[in-house]
Amino acid sequence: MAGTPAAGSRWRFLGRRALQALPTILVIVTVNFFLLRLAPGDPASVMAGEAGAATPEYMAQLRAQFGLDRPLALQYLTYVRNVLTLDLGYSFRYQESNLSLILGRMSATLLLMGASVLISVGLGTLLGLVAALRRNRIEAALILLATVLAYASPIFWLGLMFIVVFAIQLGWVPTSGMTTAGGPGGGIAYALDVLHHLVLPAVTLSLFYMALYTRLMRASVLENLRMNYVVTARAKGVPPRRLVLRHVLRNAVLPIVTMAGVQIGGALGGSVVVESVFGWPGLGQLAFEALFSRDLNLLMGILTLSSVVVILANLLVDLVHSIIDPRVALA
């Protein structure tokens, strides 16, 4: 019912945001290039990783592909061209192109991130709302205590302790991995198996942000309850439940949405340690492996594509924001 003009300006707004993201990607690629040059040692062996293990032919191929024997400016342009055409190089260790390696691991990370964003935003909003509405009650005190603890816990440690309690002691969930070896290969049974493996890492990754959103939501609800539109609504006889659900909730959730956009990059970074703790076969683990085989080129590829994921996720957040708040598209 919002009509086409509003929808039109929404897409224009998103288009503008997408356009703004392009230079960002270029700058990230540039930063990557210079970081690779900063790494000590011969660039080709830095890129090949596991110095000494690569064959001379492979090194020669690398030099040719990235133009490593040519001037720096040309090297840079070659690098940018390669990355922009999605040529992220070849991993000697995995005998596979970096792009297909990364894309192969991407879905596992997106699943983990998506689940943890849903948990943290959903529960954080709910808990923050309860903490605000039940202000001077025991529920609010308990919620705030929990957020303070979650806010101070290193997530990798929390993950380990969860494994001790829920996987080892109680045996409710598997200790690591994404699927049961030799388990179901498809269908609902497979999905349930993945879900079973997903619960613990997703909860671990979401706790810190859940605490953040809870605090933010509580403050936002309290602030909104003091606003004039709330008095107007009460003056026309709106009952408390409707006041909260129809009026306050939607207004109060706006800062959460904004924050979720800022935090997606953080959550992606956090997934590195969580994946490492839970043996979750995603990008984070790939980064971890690349790190220890000193496969810097693969590491850079992961960093670049992760940044692209963050940018896309931010566009999604912008879209959600513009749907909730009709004022956004005009800004």
């Binding site: 990230i28 603890l149 290193p154 990798f156 440690w157 605090r215 590195v272 980064a287 810097l296 590491l299």
Partner: protein, 279 residues
């Protein structure tokens, strides 16, 4: 005139006072590490896998027979050092960049804010890993990595504060009566932005400690310096049989970060009572 009431408001909050006491305890522990445990925490001193409170080792021993209590006390130094230094450098950069953007406005502002957006787009922990991987693993590398990935949010906060203050009437009138930029910044803007900066800096200490522990856990710290993250990583292989090897250093991190956060919340309430009333 301003400090005493703020100090009193801080002392009126039990949680903040508890946090401050806890933080003092951690600092005291770190400061007396060499007196309490003069030996190298890497030294093998007893039978491995000893649980806490068993005989001479208060917190037990790790998989190699190193004293966990000694590691905790020495690790406190690394955590506090990294936390304090990172917060100091990040705050300095944040004040410079955010102050310039907020005060000068216009093109400088636009450019610097695009830069901070860029740094906020790159997944910070992943970025830190890459930075440490390129440098040799050392405390300095950790510090640089943490600073590079964390300065942007603080710069944005300072910018918002400064830009907001700059448009205030009293600052505008100071400019109108001919006070120079340096004078306006030093006398009108920074003192008023200080509470927000102080609170953000205290949060930064906690964030840096968490960051350091995460990187050390992955084995990216200085292998020759005992740190809590390293201890958690080392105890991980024995998690099924000896959870405390990872559990205890984690509790140390939690308590330290918790104490700093409580102090930060208390500072926020004490320095900025009007805005903090909302939270």
């Amino acid at each position: 005139m301003r400090m005493p009431p703020a100090f009193r408001r801080f002392l009126r909050q039990p949680a903040a006072v508890a946090g401050a006491l806890l933080l003092f305890a951690v600092i005291a522990l770190a400061a007396s590490a060499d007196i309490l445990y003069p030996e190298d925490p890497f030294e093998i001193v007893g039978r491995p896998y000893l649980p806490p409170f068993s005989g001479e080792f208060l917190l037990g021993t790790d998989t190699l027979g190193r004293d966990l209590a000694s590691g905790i006390v020495h690790g406190a130094r690394v955590s506090l050092l990294i936390g304090a230094l990172a917060a100091l450098v990040v705050t300095a950069i944040g004040v410079l960049v955010g102050g310039a953007a907020g005060y000068l406005g216009g093109k400088v502002d636009a450019l610097l804010m695009r830069l901070t957006e860029l740094f906020q787009t790159i997944p910070s922990f992943l970025f830190a890993i890459v930075l440490v991987a390129i440098m040799e693993p050392s405390l300095k590398a950790l510090l640089i990595a943490i600073v590079v990935v964390s300065w942007a949010p603080l710069a944005r906060l300072v910018r918002a504060e400064v830009a907001g203050l700059r448009s205030r009437d009293y600052v505008q009138s100071a400019i109108a009566i001919g006070m120079g930029d340096a004078g306006v910044l030093a006398r009108q803007i920074l003192p008023n932005a200080l509470p927000a900066i102080l609170v953000a800096a205290s949060v930064m200490v906690a964030t840096a400690i968490l960051f350091e522990s995460g990187l050390s856990f992955l084995g990216l710290g200085d292998p020759n310096i005992m740190s809590w993250g390293l201890m958690i990583g080392a105890g991980r292989s024995a998690i099924r049989t000896a959870w405390w090897m990872s559990g205890i250093p984690g509790i140390a991190i939690l308590l330290t970060v918790l104490s700093i956060n409580l102090v930060g919340d208390g500072l926020n309430e004490a320095l900025n009572p009007r805005a903090a009333g909302a939270t």
